[in-house]
Amino acid sequence: MARLGDLERSVMDVLWSSDGWLTAREVAARLDHERDLAYTTVLTVLERLERKGFVRRQRAARAHRYAASDSREAVVAEAMMEALGTADDRGSALVRFVGSVSAEEAEILRRALEPPAEPADGSPEATPPLADGSGQ
């Protein structure tokens, strides 16, 4: 289970959930993995992540200390930007469920979805209000 990808993820989770800088040893201590990980493994993962730009390193007195370069939200936002594809980019790196929709098409769909006049027959479904995805 402790594949590299999973490890990287867990390490990032630790870094994201902590406020300040952590040494590799501290990261290893906070990892709650199925089995105890060798300190060197954690160090390797941290170095990999640093090479990829997800993690920053600070030289401390004895050991290096690490922190996430961007918040989780920033990384999510980056992924979302790519997923939404700014332009009409059919680069096909990602296969989207719905591509971009023009204002006119949106209007058509909006009419299709429009709730009819009477609100009495409200469906009991607890769909929370759509987080405003449109105001991007």
Partner: protein, 477 residues
């Protein structure tokens, strides 16, 4: 010389009129798979005959028959005198051939590499920042109309302790996120972001299906199930490989309109393929509704845009909370509605502002009503009400087919539709020529086209003929 001319002509036909016609045709939507094969044949044969034309032109002085001229030329090259018997003009042909081949393959290689790199990076982002599915307290309410494979349902409940199922106003049951998570080979990632989005990152062993929190909040469980099945179909079918060459073609000839149209058409066909696969696993209506909801959510909406389309009062913010109760009606199986404009006008856009009460009745999908009804299932009278509307559907000119499980519901919607559009009459903006992708997908889902038995074989045959033509021209002419 005639060989080269014929090949150029053929390549020209495949580069311009053929894609135009194929992109404008309606029948590909009936059998997307066969149509995709035909598209591939057109693209491949076009490239091959352009290259062959250049070669045939280059070697034309050597012999009257192209094959023997090629053999002669190869002999000359082997003998160390590659230019023997060639005129300077033939060398231009050679240069063109080399440039063309270089560009074609260069762009293909470059765009493929770029795509792979981008994908790899993106997968990394998603893996690091995305959440797995455990303990979802979002709207992923228990799925009642999930895939029927009981094995999977069992597995997802068996692995229950790992993720708590929060009940969002519905009966407990399997969770479609869990089911999909458990499907072999697909990893689900959830991005904690309010914008609704679903997509897949294709890959051989590392495919990811990514959904956002906004999506989970937007869709009900049946719709979510349909969307996930759709993405899974993309992954399983390696649809990215289908699109990739067309993207390369488009980038090779960015100035060529048909290349763009080809890419758009093939992308749409691939989506339809995935839609069909998803519809087999869940329900067409759920998928259609998911499409419509996401289409709206994904629209570039900001305040100004709405004003332009003259729909300000019902702008998104006011209307979104009501999404839960919307109805996307379908039309029976209106064969007569093959024409795009009518489909768009009549079938997919049911609920115009003018339509009122009856629309609401048969709201949510429930393909299997006997099971625990989905959260938000219609009131008890719904089905009958839907059935009652059937009459007007028939009157409205569409032959109602009860073949699908929810035929009654669909017929009902169609009835209300025809009912509503008649008096309403408006919808001026909807009578547009080519349907846009999302709308044509929705209309296709709600009104499954009738596939005549001879259509796919004909398409395959045409593909074979097109592929065989360039070599035949070389051999015969």
């Amino acid at each position: 010389m005639t060989t080269a001319a014929l090949l150029v002509l053929f390549a020209g036909v495949l580069a311009w009129p053929a894609p135009r016609l194929l992109a404008a045709a309606r029948w590909p939507h009936r059998c997307p798979r066969a149509a995709i094969v035909l598209w591939q044949a057109v693209g491949l044969a076009g490239g091959v005959s352009a290259l062959l034309a250049a070669i045939a032109f280059t070697v034309s002085p050597l012999s009257t028959s192209t094959p023997s001229a090629i053999v002669d030329h190869v002999g000359n090259v082997a003998a160390g005198a590659p230019l023997d018997g060639l005129h300077w003009i033939n060398l231009i042909g050679l240069a063109v051939a080399t440039a063309l081949a270089g560009r074609l393959f260069g762009v293909l290689a470059a765009s493929t590499t770029a795509t792979l790199r981008e994908r790899h990076r993106h997968r990394h982002l998603v893996d690091l920042a995305g959440r797995r599915h455990r303990g979802h307290d979002l709207s992923a309410s228990p799925s009642t109309s999930g895939p029927s494979e009981s094995g999977q349902a069992e597995r997802s409940t068996a692995s229950g302790p790992a993720h708590e199922h929060h009940e969002v106003g519905g009966a407990p049951g399997g969770c479609c996120l869990c089911e999909h998570r458990d499907r072999a080979g697909i990893r689900l990632r959830i991005l904690d972001h309010p914008i609704a989005v679903a997509y897949c990152v294709p890959g051989v062993r590392h495919a990811r299906v990514v959904v956002s929190r906004g999506l989970l909040n937007t869709l009900d469980s049946a719709e979510l199930d349909a969307v996930l099945a759709h993405e899974a179909a993309h992954v399983a079918g390696r649809h990215d490989l289908v699109i990739q060459p067309f993207v390369a073609w488009e980038r090779t000839f960015p100035f060529l309109g048909p290349a763009r149209e080809a890419t758009a058409a093939v992308s749409l066909l691939v989506e339809m393929l995935a839609d069909d696969a998803a519809a087999r696993r869940s329900s067409r209506r759920s998928l259609a509704r998911a499409l419509a909801r996401l289409g709206v959510a994904r629209a570039p909406v900001p305040a100004g845009t709405l004003g332009v389309t003259g729909h300000e009062p019902n702008g998104i913010p006011a209307f979104e909370p009501d999404l839960a109760g919307f109805e996307l009606g379908g039309q029976g199986r209106g064969r007569a509605t093959a024409e795009a404009a009518r489909v768009v006008g009549a079938a997919t856009l049911p609920a115009y502002p003018g339509l009122s009460s009856p629309i609401r009745v048969a709201t949510l999908p429930s393909v299997r009503p006997p099971d625990a009804p989905p959260a938000g299932s219609p009131p008890a009278g719904a089905l009958t009400a839907g059935g009652a509307a059937t009459g007007s559907a028939v009157a409205g000119g569409s032959a109602v087919g009860g073949s699908s499980a929810d035929g009654g519901l669909m017929a009902g919607s169609a009835g209300r539709l025809t009912h509503g559009t008649g008096p309403g009459g408006g919808a001026a903006g909807l009578r547009r020529g080519p349907a846009n992708p999302v709308v044509s997908r929705i209309s296709r889902l709600l009104d499954p086209p009738v596939v005549r038995w001879w259509q796919p074989p004909c398409a395959y045959l045409a593909a074979a003929v097109i592929l065989a033509a360039p070599p035949l021209i070389v051999l015969v002419a």
